[in-house]
């Protein structure tokens, strides 16, 4: 069994250079309520870094600081995700790749 299995553990292996501003946005109409629940449970659960979660008020929480910048979310839910690259020199820094 690997030592690290949870998402938190895995992301702890990686190096990130944090930028204060998000590069990932949820479009209006998908931020809360049923639409948000559906978005996260049907689609955005697929994010390899589990960036998108729901809080107790059924709002989408975007943990952009964990983003691996793969683009899966923008392909899975283009109607709901506004995606751009983070600021140059920031975000994930692969040391091995």
């Amino acid at each position: 069994m690997s030592k690290f299995t949870s998402m938190e553990d895995k992301l702890g292996l990686d190096k990130f250079t944090l930028f204060h501003q998000t590069h990932l946005k949820i479009k209006d109409g998908f931020k809360t309520g049923e639409a948000a629940k559906k978005l996260v449970n049907d689609k955005l659960f697929i994010c390899p870094a589990k960036v998108y979660t729901l809080n107790e008020k059924d709002e989408v929480v975007v943990s952009f600081e964990n983003c691996l910048e793969c683009g899966t979310c923008r392909v899975a839910a283009p109607e709901a995700v506004e995606w751009e690259h983070p600021q140059g020199g920031h975000g994930i820094v692969y040391r091995l790749g």
């Binding site: 690997s2 998402m7 992301l11 751009e84 140059g88 692969y94 040391r95 790749g97």
Partner: protein, 436 residues
């Protein structure tokens, strides 16, 4: 960057495609700048794979002297995984351990791409890192004459722009040169690099010296979703990963990291990757749409190369980096000609596509053009058939005193009850066409 500065060529993206283009153009004396959004070239890059070095060898014949290469791939294996079994085959050729090493190396991209970028700088190109490009600059006639980088004084001018900004290529989409990636033909892959002592890797995989393996897993490798898995040996680490089409993973409710954990614990995989120290977790998209979803490759002042254009051969051969380099090389050579003619319009950039059509990169893309569609429409290859295959092979080799003839007859009859033989045969034919 002041308006007074103008480059012959702006290359957006410092991966294998962009760096190759920059290398050939800088060598020819063009003023080239590479804009890389990462901290260094390679810092955003990962792959599960073999770096095929045929194009690199043309550019830098003695690259083996100082490139950060991990292992020469002398041993390859392809397996059909079932829920808890494996049916596989492969090769190990000691000839591949000799020059030119079959042009097949495992590499770690953060190290390798960085090394390559240093070679490109030595060749005379300028590399600006930490520079993300958001759009284009146009002159009063609407002709593209530069890019907008997200930084102070970020207007950067150039006669020609090569888009090498990777699989998501927001820039090619901005120019309507590329359709949006489709969930059914885009693979999300995740991998871990796990460190082991060198001796352990050699023992575990049966390797001499700097030999390495590429093990690829099909069938039930993505827990029934449309996908595959892999293990590659680095010098002192193992890269293990798995991927699937975004559509299929969504349908199967599989998060890629959970899938990777399942894959690593599969009875056929676990003994190979167990233990060690996990060093990195990475995720990346693979454009799997093939020939039919390639971008438009050129327009006035713009060329698109590598993943940005969709150059990945996702068949059994799993080629990508070499196609990236081939497109980069041909694009670079095209721009050199354009510079000679001082004409960067479509008249000249169209030569890129003409020459690509003669190249093995494009011929292979064409050969496997049905791949994405076949995979998307044949889910039984990933769920039902692996199970049937295992039952067949396992029963055949089960030792229980039954005569071989009786066994065969019984198994064929059972197979026919489970699956219409015509559809089975047709699927087999369809599958073969996209595999080799």
């Amino acid at each position: 960057m002041g308006a007074e500065e103008k480059f012959d060529v702006i290359v957006v993206g410092g991966g294998p495609a962009g760096l190759t283009a920059a290398y050939v153009m800088a060598k020819a004396g063009l003023q080239v700048v590479v804009l890389e959004r990462g901290d260094y070239c390679g810092s955003k890059n990962m792959f599960g794979g073999i770096f095929f070095t045929n194009v690199l060898r043309e550019l830098i014949p003695d690259f083996e002297k100082d490139a950060p290469l991990e292992r020469v791939v002398t041993k390859r294996r392809w397996s059909l995984l079932t829920p808890d079994g494996e049916i596989g085959g492969g090769f190990k050729f000691s000839k591949f351990a000799q020059e030119p090493h079959n042009n097949s190396y495992t590499v770690l991209r953060a190290k390798f791409d960085k090394w390559f970028s240093e070679k490109v700088e030595e060749a005379g190109a300028m590399i600006l890192t930490g520079c993300v490009v958001d759009g284009f600059l146009k002159d009063e006639k609407g002709k593209i004459n530069g890019v907008k980088a997200r930084m102070d004084d970020g207007d950067i001018y150039g006669d020609c722009i090569i888009l090498a900004d990777g699989v998501n290529s927001l820039l090619a989409k901005q120019l309507d040169m590329h359709r949006e990636l489709a969930p059914e033909s885009t693979i999300v892959g995740v991998k871990e690099v796990i460190e082991f002592p060198e001796e352990k890797i050699k023992d575990r995989f049966g390797l001499n010296d700097n030999e390495g393996v590429a093990y690829e897993y099909f069938g039930y490798a993505a827990k029934g979703a449309i996908g595959s898995g892999f293990i590659y040996t680095d010098k002192t680490s193992i890269s293990v990963g798995v991927g699937g089409t975004i559509k299929s993973l969504m349908e199967h409710k599989l998060n890629p990291n959970d899938l990777l954990e399942w894959f690593k614990n599969h009875p056929a995989i676990r003994p190979l990757v167990n233990g060690g120290e996990q060093r990195e977790y990475a995720a990346h998209l693979i454009p799997d749409g093939g020939y039919n979803r390639l971008s438009k490759l050129y327009k006035d002042n713009v060329l698109v190369v590598g993943d940005a254009a969709g150059f990945v051969n996702a068949s059994l051969f799993h080629e990508g980096t070499n196609l990236a380099m081939m497109t980069g090389k041909i694009a670079g050579e095209t721009v050199i000609k354009a510079k000679e003619a001082n004409d960067f319009s479509e008249v000249m950039t169209a030569r890129y596509e003409h020459r690509l059509r003669e190249s093995s990169a494009m011929k292979d893309m064409k050969k496997f053009r049905h791949l994405a569609h076949v995979l998307d429409t044949t889910p039984q290859l990933f769920e039902k058939y692996p199970v049937i295959m295992e039952e067949f092979v396992r029963d055949m080799f089960t030792v229980d005193g039954e005569s071989k003839n009786a066994k065969q007859m019984r198994l064929v009859m059972r197979l026919l009850r489970k699956e219409n033989p015509i559809s089975f045969a047709l699927t087999g034919l369809k599958g073969r066409r996209v595999i080799i």
